[in-house]
């Protein structure tokens, strides 16, 4: 199984968040990129946009499927990884670091405590793994 950094938080929608003060950096997990396959297209919000936990904030598209990016936290977008839009394959190559997607000024920094740690996320993956 891939490395899931212990310092990150995770969601059932296979996003990760790295917290620093009241700012969260968001990306998708190695499991998510592997399920999607070759990522060829990304739609990300603009700086200043408000995103809301559990709601779509963008779109990710692989050769075979299109999916919503589901916000793991609520807050205002302060930075967008625009370089990723021209190099979406980075999501497959380096999902947990190089392919960060947006930074968010959190409405409530305590949200970190409500998300899963790496162990809980790994356990979730094992429980939901298909029986093959």
């Amino acid at each position: 199984m891939a490395e899931y950094p212990d310092s990150y938080r995770y969601t059932k929608d296979h996003e990760w968040v790295s917290f620093e003060g009241d700012v969260g950096t968001v990306g998708i997990t190695d499991h998510a990129q592997n399920e999607l396959g070759d990522v060829v297209y990304l739609e990300l919000p603009e700086v200043g946009a408000q995103i809301k936990e559990g709601q779509p904030f963008g779109t990710i598209e692989s050769v075979k499927a299109v999916s919503d990016l589901v916000a793991p936290v609520s807050g205002e977008i302060t930075e967008v990884h625009t370089g990723l839009i021209d190099a979406p394959e980075l999501v497959n190559d380096d999902p947990h670091a190089g392919a960060w997607m947006v930074r968010v000024r959190l409405d409530d920094a305590a949200v970190a405590e409500t998300l899963w740690g790496a162990d809980e996320y790994r356990k979730f993956l094992e429980e939901t793994a298909e029986g093959d």
Binding site: G37, D38, V40, E61, V66
Partner: protein, 370 residues
Amino acid sequence: MSADLKKTPLHAWHIQHGGRMVEFGGWHMPVQFAGIVSEHNAVRQRAGLFDVSHMGEIRVRGGDALAFVQKLVTNDMGNLEVGQARYTVMTNFEGGVLDDLLVYRLDGDDYLLVVNAATTPKDVAWVKEQAGQTDGDFEVEDQSSQWAQLAIQGPSSEAILARVISLDLSSIRYYRCGWTQFDSLDALVSRTGYTGEDGFEVYLPAGGAVALADALMAAGQQEGLQAIGLGARDTLRLEAGMLLYGHDMDATRSPVEAGLEWVVKPGKGPFNGRQVLLEELDTGTLERLAGFVIDGRGLPRHGYPILDAGDGAEIGMVSSGSHSPTLQKGIGLGYLPSELAEPETQIAIEIRGKAVPATVVKTPFYKRPR
């Protein structure tokens, strides 16, 4: 859920080789192995191995076999030589496409119809029903479960296959076939495919499939032969401008609308749907299948609306759409009013509520260098 699905003789082989298995037309098949883009590029640049054992095989034999086949399909099989294959469609009485298929002439009075997997049960029922209403000396047999079919496609295919079988492959021209032996089994080797590359399709008894797949993978190691799933099969065929039954045509579409006039030969004599197709060839159709490339950002998908570039009115629907790994942009097919189906016409594709500009182009999107 996979228990209800049909399995090819290579089902366990796919799982052993890391195939990601999905449902496809009632079959449990690998959608990808290493990844769609990697597999796609392997076929364009080197070679790829496909399991196409889920395809159906219908054998028609007897002194009047040719006359019966001629009645079923639109293309002319009258001058098909022994050892030759021809692409065609099978139509209903209204000229609607029941399936697209290859017809092989295996011997003087011996024809093999190779049909799509999802349509096999329906095709077999139709062919048998038609046979019941046709006098003559011929027999129809559904041989689908007896045959395995492997395809090896890509520029290195001939070199790799030649190490595994004794047949002189240089003697097999495009859309020709020949018999050989593999593991003491009779195998039919055909220079055909669904990728736009040079390559072969090998038909052999189901029991020989695993041994042939293993032998090919071993023989193709130096060229980097890869196992290919349905995902790359779809991107490869779409780039090559080849149609997918059930998406790009169905019983409500005629071969003329689908741009397959070249397989409609009314001069050969009577066949199902001939009168309708004769008129369509003469007067044209209201709609036609067209290829397009996306000029903006985004990918077209099956079912997305096609819009008029001017007033934004809905004028059609995407029948097939994907990212093209070779062209590095979105490509697709869809039915358009015939006057808009001309190359260089500006259209738009509605992608998640946004009108993204696109241009009608001549297909194929990709042609292999020769």
